[in-house]
Amino acid sequence: MGSIALLTATGATAEINFRGFGTVAAGHAFGTDEGQDVIGYEDYWDFRKGSLIALQMNADLEDKLSATAQFLSRGISDFEVEMEWAYLSYEINDELRLNAGRMQAPFYRYSDYLDVHYAYNWLEAPDRVYNLRFPSFDGLSLLYNTSIGPIDSALQIILGKIDSTFTGTTARAEYDTLMGFSWQGSWDWFSLRASYLQADVSFASTDIDGIVAGFSSLSASTGDLSAGFTAESTRLSTIDNSFSNELAGFASQYSSFSASYLEIADQVDTVDDRGYFAGIGFSIDWRALIVESEAVEYETKDAFFPKATAYYLTIGARVGETIIYGTIEGQNSDGKAAELADIDIATLNANLTANQATFSSNNSDVLLQTALGSNQVIAGTDTTLRSVLSPPIDTTNKSIGIRWDFHSSAALKAEYNIEDNKQNNSDGKLFRVAIDFVF
């Protein structure tokens, strides 16, 4: 921690404080199946993934105004420096504070200080809940702190947007008109929290674009087939009225498939789709006992990422300067494919094949062969496209950990984590150790 006084242009002095925090961490996964990881760790010692260092600069501009900037450098991003926070803060009165600039939105209980590992007991916040990482947002945040009898209430309301490129990719995420609130009520040793945020979500990535284009092309193919059957139905209307009607039926089925594929393409394409995030949580810090829990649910309607839910429960004990804890956490999602309509090409294909003789007697063999060939391609493409959508998730982690405050500004932490991925029937173990510090 350091502090310097600067002479500003107006001649007034502005006091500038420097503070910072960091983590040096190492992790190693064990017993993983080929190509699998546990919370991003693989079968070797990784000293970079969990390590980070941050420097925060705070300038008191007097008259209730202050400016803050926080620079963060993560091992996982090759220690490239990012500006996580940069905001002006105005203290309206003792209870109200307005921040404007770049900040972290209050999705989770620990969103605000997720990177300040020193401020919590885990080695890292439970991954099943916290693996959906939101970048900082740009906008306004109003903080309202008040006491209602013995209860301390903290309400935060935000409005702004997130515009971000995913690390190491060209994929971009935009959360327009991001707004929401978080509320926390604390009473002695018990605290309760709830949050709800929503935004108009857009994702741009070549992967998503490819899948959308794939479903659109299926819509076009089935549309073409529908047109083919309609034309043949018209040609045969005076020759074989009953078969003509049957062909019209096939045309109408293809037409409905075409409409369905168009809708699926729209359900995968993520442009200005309304998304929400809801979370609840509580904590107990009573004598030696520590209990923490959160449950979250998030969904962006008609978007690439499916609805998911997650929770964790931590129970721990404080023994002097040491905290021992155990955590159980889980994450569930039915996957994106489950949210999309099934297209029953197989039944249509069987009905077409059953009519083979009638097609022959009406000289419609070419149409039938074209349709049967196309059906095979459509069914194959359909399966492939669905297989690359966000898969179902059913993962549970159990961990035990220890925090030891061996120094007045640093803590040593170790954690052993067992992951059970029921979806792909794999499991693995992770051992992590870290030193967290503040300065």
Binding site: F21, D94, Q104, Y113, Y118, A119, L143, N145, G320, E321
Partner: protein
């Protein structure tokens, strides 16, 4: 490990024995009524106004003073590292800043004697007539 724990426990025990009570001090002019609960809330940044309506300015003792550790334990009911973690949450999220820490008992007394709305803590053996004691722990 066992030995380290034992030594830590012993030294903690000794420092407790060696340490005097904690006195909460305010300016002589300060007539506000301040309860024990208020004191805890003021030093955790949860309360900033006195019953008189004045904005209160709390001061900590610098790290390393035994009175600071005692104060954390007896008044704030938290260990020093818990206090540090508590302020880290607020500092790095723009939700608050800890009170300024002064380097010596003498500096604390002088500051409280000078500032009408200051509140601070010292060990009770250092009490003198420049400041008013509102509570001891």
């Amino acid at each position: 490990m066992k030995n380290i724990l034992l030594i830590t426990t012993l030294s903690l025990g000794l420092s407790t024995l060696a340490c005097a009570d904690i006195a909460i001090i305010v300016n002589l002019e300060n007539s506000a009524s301040i309860s024990e609960g208020d004191i805890e809330r003021i030093f955790l940044g949860k309360k900033s106004k006195l019953s008189t309506g004045a904005k209160v300015t709390p001061y900590y003792l610098a790290q390393g003073h035994t009175a600071r550790d005692e104060f954390n334990k007896k008044v704030l009911h938290k260990s020093s590292s818990q206090i540090k973690a508590y302020w880290s949450k607020l500092i790095f999220t723009g939700k608050g800043t800890p009170p300024d820490a002064l380097g010596s008992i003498e500096a604390v007394i002088n500051r409280v004697a000078k500032e009408p709305n200051a509140i601070a803590y010292i060990d009770s053996e250092s009490i003198n007539d420049k400041v008013k004691v509102i509570a001891t722990f």
